[in-house]
Amino acid sequence: MRNRESHVTEPLPHAEPLARPLSQQTVLLLDVRDNRSRAAFGQLFDYYAPRLKGMLLRAGMRSGQAEDVVQEVMLSIWRKADQFDPARAQASAWIYRIAKNRQIDMIRRENRPLPDELVAAEEPSVDDAGDVLALDQEGSRLRAALALLAPEQRAVIEQAYMGELSHSEITAQTGLPLGTIKSRIRLALERLRHDLKDLR
């Protein structure tokens, strides 16, 4: 068994300066969430639709079916934007999950087993700017670490997360430093649990 804590203390590459604005996609998604901005949604479409189609084709879908799923994923982004919590996820991580859910539902013709929902049903909590920025920076560092990998290592990571490797083939390849981003998400989850308790 792999030691799941082994990455926590690994140094992260600081390829980018810390004082950095939020990622462009996260800003757009927040604009959709908070202002129902159609312009921002159009830009999200332009950015994600060709990439999502690429992911679905790699998962073995035909072009027409892949576009059906892209359409559904984009509509889900618009409709579920109020569930987006930037202290817990960057836009790409949130959209990756939605796309995987739809892809699995479509291929297996049954719903993907999902963890219990942790979304507060009524008032969405107010974003804490510091938490949001901190998570975004961890996301950027992870991306920088990914960029520094040797091409063949990178290719394996890409295959794994695009769904081209089976579970038994994944074992050896998750060597990226996920410890600090995990700690940030853990804090956000603790806060959410606390908020949910107050709601009950």
């Binding site: 690429g54 996820a89 991580a93 087993p113 999902l114 963890p115 794994a160 997360y161 579970h167 996920l178």
Partner: protein, 212 residues
């Protein structure tokens, strides 16, 4: 939430995030994630990696009409979301969904032990086990990987003590005799990618009858 001692392995979480884990294992993983914020944050970290890969992916040209179809779609009333089956008692949403919203139908398998087979097929099996306090499940090995999530009570075997929320990841080479803790009955969810092989001759004879 009690302190969880036994977690999922990172490769299981990565495979779940990537959508490459079979259905039976995915139910166990989703149920454990419902109980364990440690693994849940691990999952969301892996989803960040997935998102980072997605950003760098080769772009495929989409049909000219797709954007206008999507933009027209956002003005239409959203189709009703299929209602998610929610947690019930000790069973998280993922288990209740696998049970199609109904309480488990227990079948006795001898020695006071009961089971409820949720699915069984070429991909593996998923079942609930009910073990009375202090009882042992016959010595068995595995053809492949077995995940066991404790939902109520506890059990212990050679690899340690498992309480509610804990998950045991047992590989091929593990032979174990899980014994339920004293107090309340142990209820757990077990998934495997191969039928269990019992070591003793009597359990082996009975195995086709029990279908375990």
């Amino acid at each position: 939430m009690t302190e969880i001692q036994h977690h999922l392995t990172e490769d299981l979480i990565a495979a779940y995030a990537a959508g490459t884990l079979g259905h039976a294992f995915s139910v166990v993983v989703a149920a454990h994630l419902s109980l364990c914020d440690e693994c849940r944050s691990q999952l969301e970290a892996h989803e960040h990696l997935g998102g980072a890969v997605l950003e760098d992916l080769t772009q495929e040209t989409v049909s000219v009409g797709l954007k206008s179809a999507v933009l027209a779609g956002i003005d239409l009333p959203a189709p009703p979301e299929p209602t998610r089956i929610t947690r019930s008692g000790i069973y998280p949403s993922a288990i209740m969904t696998a049970l199609k919203g109904r309480p488990p139908k227990w079948k006795p398998v001898g020695g006071g032990i009961r089971q409820c087979i949720i699915e069984q097929g070429a991909e593996g099996s998923l079942r609930l086990l009910y073990i009375p306090p202090g009882r042992a499940v016959p010595d068995h090995g595995h053809g492949g990987l077995e995940l066991t999530l404790v939902l109520q009570g506890s059990f212990h075997d050679a690899s340690g003590a498992f309480k509610a929320g804990d998950v045991e990841v047992a590989t091929e080479d593990v032979q174990h005799v899980p014994i339920a803790g004293e107090g309340i009955a142990c209820i757990c969810l077990a998934a495997s990618d191969a039928p269990l092989r019992f070591r003793g001759w009597l359990p082996r004879l009975l195995q086709p009858m029990f279908r375990i």
